[in-house]
């Protein structure tokens, strides 16, 4: 009887007319991405939460000088990067590491270059509050938002009450960020049988995924070892041979383990042609330099990735082919999608 009653109530709740509660949103992605996504149960995606998160992403009142928002460093046109080697904070001080691009974040379990944040909610705390980033404590931001017309209503619609808290700010931001799915590049169109790659793009693709097998006469750059399958992302940390004595310990600063020295999170290659400069310290101005690095400039050290021990020594044509494949990963609809754009520009 009680079960029946509860069930009826659940059904009634599900049938409430629109406007009575936040509307659940299910993300969608191509099958070849796989569903190894990390979506916290305590922050389900809703239309209202995502809409609020988008607004907060572009909200300059969240910074101590009212001049910066998340989008200052994460610009949609550059696949949510800013083209800088190191982004400047609200106080003008440069970040120690390059701004990471934002795409396909539900598949990322450990955020930042060193993986020190276990969720987007936790990650957002740092750029919002760190003195050399946006530099404003969350409770101060919450007080500020209460003074801005419209926000109490947006928070009520997203979370059920007018209460504006730091926790709700990061939850809404995380919801918006989870919707930033890039899956409409020419490479995706190829995977879906809608695009025929050029000869160079095809060769680059084969080179990207293959491992060199001298006995069988196969040339390969083995990029897929770390960059994975069609997502071109795996949740891994590797030392990719930038320095024999890494000045930045990277993952080691989180784990304290010697074997993690100089290890950094493997970056997604989605939209990689738009996110220069490259590496955690932005040392490479273009993709040609990145390919040259993997081909012939790997620096050896005790923690160098086992997959980078042998120099690739790519030919000039092979380098061109790899570059052609990497350019295939640019998703022009992602960087112009109005759902991800600045809502303040539409007023």
């Amino acid at each position: 009887m009680i079960t029946g009653l509860l069930l009826t109530m659940v059904i009634m709740a599900a049938q409430l007319p629109a406007g009575q509660g936040p509307v659940p949103v299910a993300l969608s992605w191509p099958d070849y991405f796989g569903s190894r996504v990390f979506l916290p149960a305590d922050n389900p995606l809703t239309e209202e939460g995502i809409q609020l998160g988008r607004r907060l992403f572009y909200e300059k009142a969240l910074s101590v000088n009212r001049q910066m928002s998340c989008a200052t460093c994460h610009q949609q046109a550059k696949a949510f990067t800013d083209g800088q080697r190191f982004s400047a904070g609200a106080d003008g001080v440069l970040q120690p590491r390059n701004t990471m691009s934002l795409a396909n974040l539900p598949w990322v379990r450990q955020l930042f270059w060193d993986g020190r944040a276990g969720s987007l909610e936790e990650q957002a705390l740092t750029p919002l509050t760190a003195p050399h980033e946006m530099g404003q404590p969350l409770d101060v931001s919450a007080v500020g938002l209460r003074q801005i017309k419209g926000y109490p209503r947006l928070f009520r619609r997203a979370f059920g009450s007018d209460s504006i808290t730091g926790e709700r700010i990061v939850k809404a931001l995380a919801q918006f960020e989870r919707t930033l799915i890039s899956a409409n590049s020419r490479y995706d169109q190829y995977l879906q049988g809608k695009y025929r790659p050029s000869a160079s793009e095809s060769s680059g693709m084969a080179l990207f995924y293959a491992n060199t097998d001298t006995a069988r006469g196969i040339r390969g750059a083995g990029c897929g070892h770390c960059h994975g399958g069609p997502k071109t992302y795996s949740d891994l940390f590797h030392n990719n041979g930038l320095d024999s004595l890494p000045p930045d310990g990277g993952r080691q600063q989180v784990t304290g383990q010697a074997y993690d020295k100089g290890r950094f999170r493997v970056a997604t290659l989605r939209n990689i042609a738009l996110t220069a400069p490259y590496m955690h310290d932005g040392r490479f101005p273009d993709l040609e330099s990145v390919i040259d690095h993997y081909s012939e400039h790997i620096a050896h050290s005790e923690t160098l990735s086992p997959f980078l021990q042998q120099p690739l020594r790519l030919t000039t044509q092979e380098k061109k082919d790899l570059l052609a494949f990497l350019q295939l990963l640019t998703d022009s609809t992602f960087i112009t999608d109005p759902r991800f754009s600045n809502p303040f520009n539409h007023h």
């Binding site: 993986g115 795996s234 949740d235 600063q253 304290g256 160098l304 990735s305 086992p306």
Partner: protein, 162 residues
């Protein structure tokens, strides 16, 4: 000012503590007793030596602790208790670089298989080389050594629930 100094001090202390971290394998999940296995812990446990054909195509002898011994110590369902719903349990092995491999518990249990999978900490009487150690899973008898994963940091036991 004093607050800043304190924060700096805490950061320095924290970083020093980080720099002194001992390598460890943590065993968690569906266990009666979560474990933290340090190098000296493994040396005191029952040990075994197994042979693995590595990527170089040659056989190498590895020594360490059978995974079954570790699971027994953690109170995981092994042997006679590995039946019924417990057969839908798995072991997820996680490595320092984020690499993960999975086994059903039955794959690791001596009541199901003669194969002995070990958590190795030495080869040829020497500690494992920097890129592979300090702890490597060694899974004999597989066509490729992809599950013989390097730098193991966690062993997690769970029910498959789908």
């Amino acid at each position: 000012m004093i607050k800043n100094c304190l924060i700096t001090l805490l950061l320095i202390t924290g970083m020093t503590a980080m720099a002194q971290q001992q390598p460890v394998v943590k065993v968690s999940g569906e266990v009666a007793r979560p474990l933290a296995l340090y190098p000296e812990t493994l040396r005191q446990m029952k040990r075994a030596t197994v042979s693995l054909k590595d990527r170089d195509g040659n056989d190498h002898a590895y020594t360490g602790v059978p995974v079954q011994v570790i699971l027994e110590q953690a109170g995981v369902t092994t042997g006679k208790t590995l039946r019924g719903e417990n057969l839908s349990k798995y072991l997820l092995v996680r490595c320092a670089d984020g690499y993960e491999v999975l086994f059903s518990l039955a794959e690791l249990d001596s009541s199901f298989t003669d194969r002995v999978v070990i958590l190795a900490d030495e080869s040829g009487g020497q500690p494992l080389p920097a890129g592979k150690g300090p702890f490597r899973l060694v899974v004999p008898g597989e066509k490729k050594p992809a599950r013989s994963s390097f730098q193991v940091t966690e062993m997690i036991i769970r029910f498959a629930k789908d």
